[in-house]
Symmetry: C2
Subunit: 462 residues, 2 copies
Amino acid sequence: MFSIDVYKERRDKLKKAVGHGLILFLGNEEVGMNYRDNTYHFRQDSSFLYFFGLDKPGLAALINIDEDIEIIIGNEPTIDDIVWMGTQPSLTEIAAQTGINKVAESNSLGILIKKSLSSGQAVHYLPPYRSDAVIKLSDILEIPNTKVKEGASVILIKAVIAQRAYKSALEVTEIDKAVNISNEMHLAAIRYSKENVTEKYVAGIVEGLALSAGGTIAYPVIYTVNGQTLHNHPTNDTLKKGQLILCDCGAETAMHYAGDLTRTFPVDQKFTSLQKEVYEIVLKAEQAAANSLRPGIRFLDIHKLACEHLVDGLKQLGLMKGDVKDAVSEGAHTLFFQCGLGHMMGLDVHDMEDLGEQFVGYSEGMVKSKEFGLKSLRLGRELEAGFVLTVEPGLYFIPELMDMWQAQGKLKDFINYDKLAAFRNFGGARVEENFLITESGYQLLGEPLIKAVSDIEGLNRL
Amino acid sequence: MFSIDVYKERRDKLKKAVGHGLILFLGNEEVGMNYRDNTYHFRQDSSFLYFFGLDKPGLAALINIDEDIEIIIGNEPTIDDIVWMGTQPSLTEIAAQTGINKVAESNSLGILIKKSLSSGQAVHYLPPYRSDAVIKLSDILEIPNTKVKEGASVILIKAVIAQRAYKSALEVTEIDKAVNISNEMHLAAIRYSKENVTEKYVAGIVEGLALSAGGTIAYPVIYTVNGQTLHNHPTNDTLKKGQLILCDCGAETAMHYAGDLTRTFPVDQKFTSLQKEVYEIVLKAEQAAANSLRPGIRFLDIHKLACEHLVDGLKQLGLMKGDVKDAVSEGAHTLFFQCGLGHMMGLDVHDMEDLGEQFVGYSEGMVKSKEFGLKSLRLGRELEAGFVLTVEPGLYFIPELMDMWQAQGKLKDFINYDKLAAFRNFGGARVEENFLITESGYQLLGEPLIKAVSDIEGLNRL
């Protein structure tokens, strides 16, 4: 945890922004994998962490703005809890850790809420993404499961984003730590890659490093020879000579801040000439995008700039033709780059994604596009100092999508369909780094991790 | 997956046992860690795996026994699914993998169920342990969340247990594989243990090995110097000279069968003499219990036998006194051994725990005890050939529990309370192995893993 004052200040600011009523934060619960008590690793809700710092299941928090009361809700430990889980702090001790001196037992939460509702107070809560939270809210608010999500408070959502979007120095230090652990994971990923080992073999080592460093993975490890598939999990297939590996993985620190990096490298020590050509197009787009980061520029425009660099490279490769800007504005590049250039990062790897991408990534009056490609751009808004984000262009050769477009003759003035056949089994390439927006521009987070072809080829395999 | 015939035979047997009506199996869904799309690793429901073998989220299965119809329910993949997740089989292809030729879209499940209910058919389903399943069942059965669990079918529960409790040769081979991977995890745990590394450092390596082997962990890794806490997670504390480590971890194979082993060993290369004494009491109890395994004996009686061995050892250590059998029947040993000797193992590490321990671990007419100690014995029933189970006695020195009993003067004819002080910081020791009950006795699963003091001391640290 940070110091108590950090959480108190955050809550004071939040109370001012929301103005009136009751704010209810539900902490996360344990989730059973294959039965109730065989649980996944516990992950606390990020907004709960941000405002309270308490990293334990079974908690909730109630802020009565009008009466200026804060309450931590949970259950007192029993002797059975101590036998099975070790010495446990009392609820009062837990609350004190975040500077709150009022507590209540879980079964009284419904009554507290009902009292406020009947006295005309609004109850603000964030949209739940876990089913147990839906059930809990349905129970205490006495509304059906299906009505819970739509009852979430837009005022609260906006107030939370207005704080969490700007990372403090303390937070940047944590993210820096996360990126440096992620660096170690990537170096291991490259070094352990070789013919005849399985994808899962290497991915297991990589995930183990995140755990050994004291936290966990920030998201499921992507380590695949099918890099064209954007969210691919490692398989038990063995690596083969000539294949290209895309590894997208990052650590979450013990304090739950994320790193999020991607590197692309060959199974063999050296890239083939085609792999090198494609990879360097992506690398150039990534560098150009990074160099443009600064307060005041819209990330949407940096996305477009990166797309132009990709199209430019694809033209040199013979896959695309025509005017670069026209190609991008028509969306022709989305045959090869189907997603967005990046996203906010913090306590969540896609920071605050549960609060809604429109609110997080777009400013008032700027509506997220529904078009293929742009609909996957999570961040479009004007950048501000304190934002932390990823830049991650890529080129993805998806046979099903190429076949579909070709059959439709889609945007054929920009695509050389006769040249696509050679890329059916290419896979995909992506480079991803993490940046802080500063007053004057940007700062790379973590120590620089190798990305030039010569550096990757120069790293000896184990 | 096993061959199609395996799943067909299992379903035919189930239909006969249940007799009439509709059987609804819900496969598991993805669960978001900190937002919906950042998911934990997917874990299919074990009964769904057992009867259908389909290892994918978003599926359900409906068996209409009266009309002899089997249907797989899910959604057809979209082009977006292919872009984000790669080439996807159609629902019909998925169903064919388990020998079913009828499919329906997810949104038709409620209608199918309603038709059956209105025609007077009973709908059998297993008790849900995930909140999303509760919401789904509440929706399709049109009952409140709180009524879902009590509506689960006891006929179906018993029929499922009557099949899953007896492991086939194919299943035993998979469990054997899981135990052998678990062996590698334990050897690494011992070898990487040394002064000044953190618990999480070693636990991360151990978990990485489970992933690298192609599956995952069967349950959260326990690796702790506080072995007296029964379910303890590794911390970022560093290991110190003189400490005793308890490591309880096991792999789950790619087919989701579990291994479950425990070893206890010192941070240093050598046990202290007290550590050795306590450890060897536990080891002796474990061996005595294992040697008694055979069809026809109640596991409750083997549990008692192990407890007697523990008490015998504790008397020699000076911690207990009086008649051994009396001490066990009075429950005096539960000050040091608070839990049960073992449990069934299979697709779940605590096999079928979600179906209810009374049904799984106890036969008709044999009611699970509510007493401290025995209430945690998951398995009491008469053993039969084909059962797979763990044997895991231990000695746990829990300061809070010792203080509580001492203050009450509880069972003071059996406990030498004046001798307890020396054990306040001892921690705990456990040895655990996995066995198949055979026609003639038992068989150790996996290759033998070192457990003698001399073998553990002889394994060089890294």
